[in-house]
């Protein structure tokens, strides 16, 4: 059973030339290793376009935001394009407030994010 355990699931898929990283579970300090690993693996595999898909995350805290900021920084360094999808309204708002939306387009659905990056 989950509760306090790290029930986070992070998996990667390819949609054409876009890599979708699915994040299911709490995005807190405990999510750091798994999310960073998935991002690093995608980058080492040559991914230039990435979607972080939060469809199943209901809890993202400030430590989670710090993880995502580090990924934004790393994407900038590697010349990668980054988009986010599946965030509920509250977390979309937080990401805009923090300023993350200037560095990663925020889309409602994964399909929209993939389409936008594919066209980009």
């Amino acid at each position: 059973m989950a509760f306090l355990d790290d029930a986070l699931e992070v998996t990667s898929r390819r949609h054409g030339n876009v890599t979708v990283i699915d994040i299911k579970g709490d995005v807190t300090t405990f999510a750091d290793a798994k999310i960073t690993e998935a991002y690093t693996a995608a980058t080492e595999a040559g991914a230039q376009k990435l979607v972080l898909n939060f469809h199943h995350s209901n809890y993202i805290n400030s430590a989670g935001i710090a993880i995502l900021i580090r990924i934004v920084t790393s994407c900038g360094r590697h010349g990668q394009k980054l988009a986010m999808s599946g965030l509920n309204e509250h977390f979309q708002k937080i990401f805009r407030m923090v300023g993350l939306s200037q560095y990663a387009d925020i889309h409602e659905t994964e399909e929209q994010a993939v389409a936008a990056l594919t066209g980009a």
Partner: protein
């Protein structure tokens, strides 16, 4: 930022969670909701969670109505312990009022209720929805209902 204390994460053998509620009808909903979200996060399914809601609500209602009846500024304590996949919830009141702890073992008689007799459904409902239930006294002089929900 990297957090050095991320290793100090909660384990299932930690101290329990404690909820202290004013002894007034209505507050049983807070206990019911809190127990439910904990059980949900532990991974219990909707039917188990719904049953737990009823059990906790009835236990806290009894603590308010019977256990603490008449005690000014009384409190109800709800102690919730997560032990691996098991959730243990103890509901404690403050006014020791000895009662028949075999209540609710037998199904209350609907026919009698339909004839207008007083029939209590609470203790019986509690027994239907948790895997284990025990009614005891606590050292400080109150009743405790201990309910166990297993995966």
């Amino acid at each position: 930022m990297r957090r050095p204390w991320s290793s100090k994460r909660a384990r299932s053998t930690e101290q329990p969670i404690e909820l202290r509620l004013p002894s007034c009808l209505g507050y049983e909903k807070v206990a019911m909701d809190t127990a439910a979200v904990i059980a949900e996060r532990m991974g219990f399914g909707p039917d188990r969670v719904a049953g737990l809601r009823t059990a906790v609500s009835e236990a806290v209602t009894n603590a308010i109505e019977h256990g603490n009846q008449g005690v000014r500024n009384a409190e109800v304590h709800v102690v919730m312990a997560i032990q691996d996949d098991t959730l243990i919830i103890c509901v404690r009141d403050q006014n020791y009022h000895q009662f028949d702890r075999s209540y609710g073992i037998q199904r209350p008689d609907l026919q009698r209720a339909l004839r207008g007799e007083d029939v209590g459904w609470g203790m019986w409902l509690i027994r239907q929805f948790v895997d284990e239930v025990e009614f005891t006294g606590v050292p400080n002089g109150g009743n405790e209902v201990r309910m166990v929900l297993r995966a």
